[in-house]
Symmetry: C2
Subunit: 372 residues, 2 copies
């Protein structure tokens, strides 16, 4: 039975297991084999492993110090299979990035030189650069804090997550088609779309184009998912992310609807007044309504809302300081675009929370590189 050190850390609304790259290498076992066995990915209930048997609790990251300039640490994000012996390395996860930042300050992977420490991170799945800024009062790494994020009442250490130069990360352009608004063909005819690439590629529609207000409950919004699934495919083709004949991706681009703010109730029943947020948004996650919003989608929204002519700009309340408060089913998530030097696109900042849940020695049932 192989032993592996790891930390279970909540990042926002995800639970991530974080491993040190050197510890992984020292096992002599390839990382996929290791994660599949540690999580018991083969079992839909992950009953013999550390996984939580849901997409937000079957995540891992492998972290190491970086030799890249202006980068402290680099990490690989893994979405570990559930009843499926596969590990997916194709995407980044903003929630796990906050967990990685907290891990880094605790493990001494960055020097704590003041009461506030910024961890400069490179996500090696997507080449995205992120920063995680954490209070380190008295140059010590914190275990607790008073920060909360929509989707959980749990308190955590505040992590200011920054997506560096997020524009065009996949296609090279903020607006891959060159237009602020395109017209796609949905199941019921032509629909206006804003196709944007920042954080992740995203296709945004006005809520009214699919007969909604943009402040629907998850159940109500579910009715629009089939139409948005058709539109996602059209958007993928228009953005050059897929070609006719390619298999249909249910993950790329992100897809959702936007609308002007009106008061609504969150999934937990809290009233959100019209003036408490700037843009109503309902996103699709694969085949279902997203309970809140993915952080890379939030970056796409913040970027689109700042570009005159886009659908997001058309309906979002404009603010002076680049702040955009997104009204999601789980509550309000605030993104802020701040100018960056050297011609880079604005950094998008998100206020998040993370908490170390457990430090552990995992007993992993692999033997000489093979599951035991």
């Amino acid at each position: 039975m192989l032993r592996l050190q790891g930390e279970m850390i909540r990042g926002g609304t995800s639970k991530c297991w974080i491993f040190d790259h050197q510890d992984v290498v020292a096992t002599g076992v390839d990382v996929d084999t290791l994660l599949l066995a540690a999580f018991n990915a083969a079992d839909p209930r992950q009953i013999d492993g550390v996984g939580g048997a849901s997409s937000t609790t079957s995540k891992a990251a492998v972290v190491q110090a970086s030799a890249e300039p202006d980068v402290d640490i680099e990490y690989a994000f893994a979405q570990v299979g559930i009843g499926d012996e596969s590990v997916e390395w194709a995407s980044n996860c903003g929630n796990c990035a906050t967990a990685v930042a907290l891990y880094a300050v605790h493990r001494g992977l960055v020097p704590l030189t003041s009461d506030r420490t910024t961890v400069r991170m490179l996500n090696i799945n997507t080449d995205a650069r992120l920063t995680g800024t954490i209070p380190t009062p008295g140059r010590s790494a914190p275990d607790e804090g008073r920060a909360v994020v929509p989707g959980t009442n749990a308190l955590g250490v505040p992590v200011l997550l920054g997506f560096q130069d997020p524009v065009g990360s996949t296609t090279g352009r903020a607006l891959p088609t060159g237009h602020a608004v395109d017209t796609l063909t949905g199941p019921e005819g032509p629909v206006e779309a804003t196709l944007v690439d920042a954080g992740a590629p995203a296709a945004l529609f006005e809520a009214k184009a699919v007969g909604l207000e943009g402040t629907e409950s998850l159940t109500e919004f579910a009715a629009a998912v089939p139409a948005l699934t058709v539109l996602r495919r059209q958007a993928a083709l228009a953005m050059g992310l897929a070609e006719e004949g390619d298999p249909v991706s249910h993950a790329v681009p992100k897809v959702g609807i936007v609308a002007r703010p009106v008061s609504y109730r969150t999934t937990h029943g809290t009233l959100v007044a019209q003036d408490e947020y700037d843009l109503a948004v309902r996103m699709v996650s694969m085949h279902a309504p997203h309970p809140a919003i993915g952080l890379t989608s939030a970056v796409a929204l913040a970027t689109a809302a700042a570009i005159p002519g886009t659908l997001a700009h058309r309906v979002a309340r404009q603010t002076a300081d680049g702040t955009l408060r997104l009204g999601t089913p789980a509550g309000v998530i605030t993104a802020q675009a701040v100018p960056a030097p050297d011609g880079a696109s604005p950094t998008v900042l998100l206020h998040r929370a993370a908490r170390r849940i457990a430090r552990a020695e995992l007993l992993v049932p692999v033997l000489e590189g093979r599951p035991a």
Copy 2:
């Protein structure tokens, strides 16, 4: 942030967190507060805690050496709430008992004096006495083994789990009504029942009484659950477990159907031939088909099948050595009744498996006895 040592151990088809009683006491925090915070019970997704957000992965046990004669260790079993800030201490869990036994041999709570160690356990929730016998070759505690249980393909350390003197644990009698067969009134009229108390109180019916064969899939068996729910209430009254006017319990007694063995397929599609088992059984868990069978229910079945005149005895293949192979939806679970000294009822043995998944230091968000 409070720190607490714990071990995540799979016992059979459950995942249990095991804690040392002394460590719990040392925190100065009451155990309910500790578990609610450690598991993030308030959240239906348990996203800020070590819980797995399902009934089989939101379990804990607190273990200590025992001063009782003939007992090595005693443990309290906790079913921790999921989206519900409550800890239920009313029942025992056979799967967690196997995890506790493995914990005990690793923590030095029993001397390893030979190649096989028996841990004598007292479950303080129910006063049940159990034994867990584990191979300890060379007087060392094992981390791995080749044992499997129905419901998971994972390998584990073999644990021979014994329920000591299980008869009458709740009512004092094997047959609380004094009859091997009673007649209850179901939704469609009178139905024969065997009401037995061993391991747990259980109400057993012939499959054909509810129009079934006893080898149905979970989906097919689900159709009988409403009728069995009505019958469970009638059985509770007949067994003296409840009185008219009491709230209806969906947990007590255990309820299910039995039938003669015929070949069937498990949930995973494996064919089980007629001669590979002795008694077909489909149990209800609260409001739904049980995916396999609870271990205390298996004890009730093994006891009933050994008493002439009961419905279980009527349809079970009789074996010479007290072995009873139960054909459950997940596969075959073998129970063996062996004679006990001193007038005690036969010990019921079950072949199970356990595996240590992780040793951890939990960071528990409680402060001076209150959630932080």
